[in-house]
């Protein structure tokens, strides 16, 4: 994304409404509502998948059914929402006529391109200029992938998940489900059964990916669920920075989103994964909004490093715990998060750091902002396994309250099974103080600007971890998301 592009978006954001709330009028090819083995087969057939993948989906489906019948949806998180009717959702929605993913931009529905334009996605040659390769997922089908060629020369694969299944089946087969098996949890099982598309990246040994890889996700069809799946593999000594952005239009009905992300960081490699999640949060009165149930996990081998950075401003419900399994000696896991819950939003998010190797190190910085009637919960787990000699964890967990009807909760779980471990946990809760507000306003900032400055300043330790253009966008999103909560 060019800086210019991001900055122009900044000036567009003054309206205060959910800016991404437009609906694209593209003819959509819908499978009937509801979930069944037939739907799973249909999805797989539409995508012309090999038999092993259909088998895997079916196993996942059956596992999901058994979970559904025994326990139902998980209910341990501090979120409250009506039961999801899983039979009232479209599990497959592809823009009509794009059964075949388009080969180049000329094949793409112009209206769809316009949508991306509005989203500020640098889909065309702007992307090349800005050094970003973009893989945009529009509902289910991947629309266009840029810069594939340049990456190809380095042996880097960056494409939609379906293309990866077609063109790199061995890689997919090797890694799919290796970090998040379909048995992992209710939503992971659901995703494995019906995932529609997503992104795939593979960085070969010793290669440093020269540009940031980016995917924009968007839900368009009313009543549809989005189940994308992302798989990123950094082979030995490789490096990649991956960005993910999410938006959904304004809908008074709720939309279900259950994604799975798997990261594999081989020896000496590094994966940096940044997310800006801005799914539709629902109306200020609490109608509609995206239910965001996401399973994200990475595996770090010897000397490898995985960093998750997330700015979560959207969704009515967020249930998300990007985790790192520190399997190799000297591996490093990081989690930097800003989660904002305004109006009736509920966020239950955090991380899991599982230390298995020796000298493993993890850092957790979680910043939760609650405003309006929002509820924000940090749920984090640090687990030190018996073999993890000299493991180190530092956790910092801060909550900021804006107004007095919101809530902040911290739920740390710590399990230490090796006495050499060193763990530090810091937590704080603060309010935006009148002294701070008056100080800034006395210098000429409006109340809203003052709040925004205090909040982005407070979130700085996380935002500074984002690539520059994403950092600007994150700061703007915080501003827009807080409108109505202050003033």
């Amino acid at each position: 994304m060019t800086n210019q592009n991001t900055i122009s978006r900044e000036s567009d954001l003054s309206g205060g409404e959910y800016k991404w709330g437009f609906v694209t009028d593209v003819e959509t090819d819908l499978a009937p509502k509801g979930l069944s083995e037939d739907i799973v087969r249909l999805i797989s057939a539409k995508k012309e998948e090999p038999g092993w993948l259909l088998d895997w989906r079916l196993k996942a489906y059956r596992h999901w059914v058994s979970l559904y019948e025994s326990e139902g949806e998980p209910d341990w998180a501090m979120i409250d929402y009506p039961d999801v009717d899983f039979q009232d959702i479209y599990y497959y929605a592809a823009p009509k006529g794009t059964n075949e993913a388009p080969k180049n931009l000329d094949d793409v529905d112009p209206e769809m391109l316009e949508t991306f334009e509005k989203l500020g996605i640098p889909l065309q040659e702007r992307a090349a200029l800005a050094g970003v390769a973009v893989d945009a997922v529009f509902d289910s089908i991947s629309v266009a992938t840029t810069m594939e060629k340049q990456l190809g020369e380095l042996g880097i694969i960056f494409c939609s998940f379906s293309e990866a299944v077609k063109n790199h089946p061995d890689l997919v087969k090797k890694y799919l489900g290796s970090v998040v098996p379909y048995t992992d949890n209710f939503y992971a099982a659901l995703n494995a059964a019906v995932f529609s598309d997503g992104s795939f990246a593979y960085i070969p040994p010793g290669v440093r990916c020269p540009i940031e890889l980016m995917t924009y996700f968007r839900i368009n069809t009313e009543g549809s669920g989005q189940f994308e799946r992302t798989l990123i593999v950094a082979d030995a000594g490789a490096y990649v920075s991956y960005l993910e952005g999410c938006t959904a239009p304004f809908r008074k009905t709720s939309q279900l989103h259950a994604a799975t992300v798997e990261l594999v960081a081989h020896d000496d490699s590094e994966i940096k994964y940044s997310t800006i999640q801005n799914w539709f949060p629902g109306t200020p009165e609490g109608e509609g909004g995206v239910y965001n149930f996401v399973t994200k996990r990475g595996r770090a081998d010897k000397n490898a490093k995985i960093s998750w950075t997330q700015v979560e401003t959207g969704s009515a419900i967020t249930w998300k715990y990007p985790s790192v399994i520190l399997r190799g000696d000297n591996s490093v896991g990081e989690f930097f998060s800003v989660a904002l819950a305004n109006n009736h939003q509920q966020a239950d998010t955090g991380t899991k750091m599982i230390h298995i190797g020796k000298n493993t190190k993890s850092t957790i910085v979680s910043k939760g902002i609650s405003a309006g009637k929002g509820n924000n919960t940090y749920r984090g787990q640090v687990q030190i396994m018996p073999g993890a000699e000299n493991a180190v964890n530092h956790t910092q967990c801060d909550s900021l309250l804006v107004g007095d009807q919101c809530g902040a909760h911290t739920v740390p779980y710590i399990e230490v099974r090796n006495p050499t471990a060193r763990l530090e946990h810091e937590a704080s809760t603060s309010k935006v103080s009148d002294d701070q507000l008056f100080y800034l306003m006395a210098r000429g900032l409006s109340e809203e600007e003052a709040h925004h400055m205090i909040i982005t300043g407070w979130s700085r330790d996380v935002i500074k971890e984002l690539p520059f253009e994403f950092a600007l966008e994150a700061s703007q999103l915080l501003k827009v998301s807080l409108e109505g909560a202050v003033g």
């Binding site: 008056f438 006395a442 000429g444 900032l445 600007e449 400055m453 300043g457």
Partner: protein
């Protein structure tokens, strides 16, 4: 011109908490007024009420700037009209760089007046110049606004903002307290160099020594929320010598 007429103010939501008990004061363009008075007499409250702090209730009286009442204006609107308060206790704002903060402040002022924003390059130049002028350690302004600043550093940072924002009415609330001799001179030089026929100052201080550097046009003695005496620079010398006892007994205040 600033005019304060029979100003009464109390703490919002606290009954019988009147702090300012009827203040009258007139500050013409180009003048420097000093306000002195014992601890707790209401000097900071007056400064805050002038700047529009929300947690005070003005129950009586008026404040006008160039003839227009500003009582209903928010602090940011007052700042846009050219008012400035150098705080006695500046707030700490984690994660916010002084540079970014001042640029935003300047931009919103320009915007409110329909003027062009200063370019980043010009602003940077101005900022660096002023950082040097007020003698702030340049590393300090790379940190969070006021966070972990020493008392003197905070005061210098207030001076930096004053010099960058160039207000037409500056209220300095004990900007000289806790300063070493060099810093005191910098504050005085700052004020003196900014003195102009179009700009006025209200300087709240406990010390005559500041007034050796900045010769005020008018000195007010504030006791128990009222101005009990107004005079020329010689009044400050008297207070330095005799203290406030004579006024305290007169008002029946008990400090």
């Amino acid at each position: 011109m600033l005019e304060i007429k029979n100003l009464h103010a109390s703490v919002l939501d606290i009954d019988d908490s009147e702090i300012l008990t009827g203040i009258d004061m007139k500050v013409n363009k180009g003048e420097v007024h000093a306000i002195m008075g014992p601890n707790g007499s209401g000097k900071s409250t007056l400064a805050n009420v002038l700047m529009g702090r929300f947690d005070y209730l003005v129950s009586e009286g008026d404040i006008t700037l160039d003839g227009e009442s500003i009582i209903e204006l928010r602090p940011d609107q007052r700042a846009h009209l050219g008012m400035f308060l150098a705080f006695q206790y500046p707030a700490e704002i984690p994660g916010v760089r002084p540079w970014q903060f001042l640029k935003t402040a300047l931009d919103s002022k320009a915007e409110s007046r329909g003027e062009d924003k200063m370019s980043v390059r010009n602003f940077s130049k101005l900022f660096d110049e002023k950082v040097e002028a007020v003698g702030i350690n340049p590393n300090l302004v790379k940190r969070s606004l006021n966070e972990g600043f020493s008392g003197g550093e905070k005061k210098r940072n207030e001076m930096l903002q004053l010099e960058v924002l160039q207000p037409s009415l500056a209220i300095l609330d004990e900007t000289d307290s806790g300063l070493d001799v060099d810093a005191l001179r910098i504050v005085a030089e700052g004020v003196n160099s900014m003195r102009s026929p179009a700009r006025s100052f209200i300087v709240v201080t406990h010390y005559q020594r500041l007034l050796n550097y900045i010769t005020p046009d008018v000195v007010h003695i504030l006791v128990a929320g009222k101005i009990v005496k107004t005079g020329g620079p010689e009044l400050a010398l008297e207070v330095e010598k005799d203290g406030y006892n004579e006024y305290l007994s007169a008002t029946g205040a008990n400090v």
